[in-house]
Symmetry: C2
DNA sequence: AGCAAACAGGATAAAAATATCCGATTTGCT
DNA sequence: AGCAAATCGGATATTTTTATCCTGTTTGCT
């Protein structure tokens, strides 16, 4: 239901939230998130174009979040790479419907609205702070991603 | 967020709900739903394989719903062509997580769960019966799809 | 200046989703 | 039997998504 790209982007910003406000290299993120590095690079470029992350070239460079994890919502990340497009006019182009969606499309749009709302109300900070035995991206409890090359 | 195929399938069963328990030809459905006929044919084959619709070849044949619109949910239609797959184990394959999803994936899964729930609790009968000026698939209010070739 | 780290971006490839075409088969009707 | 209405299913094409590779550019360090 959500694209691979969305999944990869969320993992990446999750890693970056751990190291924020510092930066991580694409390789570090790729290792920690188990995303193919070359493809991750493209995803990160998309996030950079959308202003979610910024990149710094050269030695000591890498990728970092533009906002703090407290200010960054899941929705912003999702919309940066694969936007949730709400239904605003009849997909069949029926003029009589126009912006007045029929019950079918109203329900489909409501489903998207609920996802949008859930994602809008969750920040990255909440995701990484939530007490749990399953820490995002971490194989072992109570152990968080580091920048050490494994 | 939802595939074209899902959209097409929903339109098609919506048309069939109008003509239920009678059948419609693929061409009639294609015209009423504005879905390319050849592709719709494939979508309907998928719905038939999943047991949502049944087909009858030959003169006077066509496609009809297996269940009544009262018994058929949107979810069954969606799952027939492009299933909503819930996250049951860690997508990274982290053994420590297993079925205990991390906060990130729990939220993504919750979003899918809300969609699943919304779709599960809506029948086709509700969709076509809801009073509105925008009648599904119909260009004009108070005028419903017919089997008349336009 | 020279070198190594690191991202940028184009070219390419592979796979999946979307779409079209057409001959084969089934079926009802006369 | 013959014909026309319909679906079935295989082949093919197109577009999008996912993925890989490689060269170029930027940057910090010595």
């Amino acid at each position: 239901m959500f694209s691979q790209t969305v999944e990869y982007a969320l993992r990446a910003v999750c890693h970056l939230a751990y190291t924020a406000p510092g930066s991580s290299t694409t390789e570090e993120i790729a290792n920690s998130t188990k995303v193919p590095m070359a493809y991750l690079s493209k995803v990160l470029q998309g996030l950079a174009r959308a202003g979610v992350v910024k990149s710094q070239r050269g030695v000591g460079g890498g990728i970092s979040l533009v906002k703090s994890p407290e200010e960054l919502t899941i929705l912003e990340v999702v919309n940066a790479v694969d936007p949730i497009v709400r239904i605003t006019t009849c997909p069949l182009g029926l003029k009589a419907h126009g912006k007045n969606l029929c019950p079918l499309h109203k329900r489909v749009d409501n489903a998207m609205a609920s996802v949008e709302e859930a994602f809008k109300s969750t920040t990255l900070a909440e995701v990484i702070a939530e007490p749990t035995t399953s820490i995002p991206l971490c194989e072992f409890p109570a152990m968080r991603p580091t920048n050490d090359p494994e």
